[in-house]
Amino acid sequence: MKKIIPALILPVAALLIWTSLLEFRILSGRQIRLKITGYDPRDLLSGHYMRYNLDLAGVNPCTEMKSGLSCVCLSDSRDGIHHEASYQRECYGIEADASCSVYLRGSCESGRFTTGLERFSIPELWAPELAILPQNSSAAISVDSNGIGQVTEIFVDNAPLENYVLRRRSEKLMLQPSPTGN
């Protein structure tokens, strides 16, 4: 019976460590923001998620490489928080590249560059307001020193996504005719 104690502790410890690593990446990573563009507003198969593409300003590491790892260097921010991709390069030795202070690591699949950051969980109640990805949307990402990012929030016109949803709902209510018909 005693051998079950470490066996029961292991999954709890594994989940705790995993959660701690994810949280540490958010707290210690460099905060950037990247524009996002529409792809498939809701991924029905994965539950309540927004799916989108990261806007890398035309930089596509996968035009010549169909599959494999690749990295994208991000330019310095113009207004303090926004970034866009400046160029792509191989990930090997990227840490030593002084001109690439912030970079994102990803992989090419079928000619598309994916970083694992193209999904954001939303409440199902927000689905009507988010059937189409709002314009001027951007993703706040925390990037660690290895180029691995973590999405923390989606912004629309510099306001959190929740604010956008609430604003859209109030606009819809104002547009609805009153019960008396006036």
Partner: protein, 381 residues
């Protein structure tokens, strides 16, 4: 109820005396064994409670902050783990329910963390992670249910992994290495199930053997039968190259481990296992690997051979219900053959009457002789 009927039969046959009959009845009254009804009802009760809890939380899910969700989750996980530890030494419904709930709750936790941190997943990575961290619990416990859940999860993860390798994607060649690795896995687990019971958990090894046979007998055998009837394996053969050796080596490994097993020893059983494994390889791999052409009869014969092997194994280890089930599948396959050959006759009234007579006659003969067949196999084993 079944026990009562059996006691009456044994008493009438003179196998047990009146005193023994009374003693057995008294014993069962004092220590009733758990029935499947209790297991089923308990499982249903646990499920309903869990669904209620989940519904309550789900209705207010996005109002709860991520930190509260995580703290609440880990606190409840540790609580379930504590109670599971307390009950582990006592077999029964409560132990099965707690350990299974713990295992599934860990899986829920993987999903929860993925949702809170917006993680991208292909599905099978999360499942493999869950399987890895829950494996020690499966090995350490005597719970049957948790071990079966583990193998069901493993089968699901492997299926998703294979499906993710460009099958059906236009202009892309599927990753055949994943396919052949997945085909070899039942043989690998069969080998582990026969060779490791005295080293790791017997329950885990028993589940490994069970699920390996289920995989070989159902998806592999049915797909193989269809492939023998329709497939031309020459194109596959050109692309796969030496990958065919992977399941072949795995099958040989399984045969070797089965031959040197300590669980259910016996030469006859060894032969039955080896023949079943060999027949399954011929059934599932040959039509995909050779331009041998379409041979419906050979495919049907191999299908029946695999299931007959399984029936023999079931009879040799005294699993009467499994033996009956295997025999049923063989019987149905014979009936299908009959309709495949004489199908057009069944469109007429006379044809249907004759077909029905064949089915009834087969059922009668089976009912009359199945006990003797099972007994002969058991004596040979």
């Amino acid at each position: 109820m079944n026990l009562e009927k059996s006691l009456e039969r044994w008493s009438k046959a003179g196998l047990i005396s009146e005193k023994q009959l009374a003693d057995i009845r008294q014993f069962e009254l004092e220590e009733p064994s758990a029935s499947w009804v209790i297991f089923g009802l308990s499982g249903l009760g646990v499920s309903v409670v869990m669904i209620g809890l989940i519904s309550l939380i789900a209705a207010n899910w996005y109002e709860i902050s991520p930190n509260v969700k995580l703290i609440g989750y880990f606190a409840s996980l540790m609580m379930i783990g504590f109670f599971a530890y307390k009950r582990d030494g006592t077999p029964g419904v409560i132990r099965e329910s707690l350990l299974s709930a713990f295992g599934l709750y860990v899986l829920a936790g993987v999903g929860l963390v993925g949702q809170i941190y917006h993680l991208e997943s292909d599905g099978y990575s999360a499942l493999f992670f869950w399987l890895l961290i829950i494996l020690p619990v499966s090995l350490a416990t005597q719970s049957r249910l948790l071990n079966n859940i583990w193998f069901m999860g493993f089968a699901t993860a492997v299926s998703l992994w294979v499906a993710d390798s460009n099958w059906g994607v236009y202009g892309k060649d599927p990753d055949l290495s994943r396919f052949f690795i997945s085909v070899s896995l039942p043989y690998v687990f069969l080998a582990l199930g026969y060779s490791l019971p005295h080293i790791v958990s017997e329950r885990f090894c028993a589940a490994a053997r069970f699920w390996s046979y289920v995989t070989l007998l159902i998806p592999f055998a049915f797909a193989g039968n269809i492939a023998w009837a329709h497939a031309d394996g020459s194109e596959f053969w050109d692309k796969a190259g030496s990958l065919y050796l992977v399941p072949l080596i795995a099958a040989v490994f399984a045969i070797v481990c089965a031959s040197f097993r300590k669980v259910y020893p016996g030469k006859f059983l060894t032969y039955a296992i080896c023949v079943t494994i060999f027949a399954s390889i011929l059934l599932s791999l040959v039509p995909l690997s050779t331009p041998i052409g379409k041979h419906e009869i050979l495919g049907c014969a191999l299908f029946i051979g695999v299931w007959a092997g399984a029936a023999t194994i079931a009879a040799a280890i005294e699993r009467r219900r499994l033996f009956d089930f295997c025999a049923l599948v063989i019987g149905v396959r014979f009936v299908v053959v009959y309709f495949e050959v004489f199908g057009s006759l069944a469109a007429t009234g006379i044809g249907l009457i004759f077909s029905g007579g064949v089915i009834l006659g087969t059922a009668y003969l089976w009912h009359k002789y199945r006990g003797k067949v099972a007994k002969k196999i058991k004596e040979a084993a």
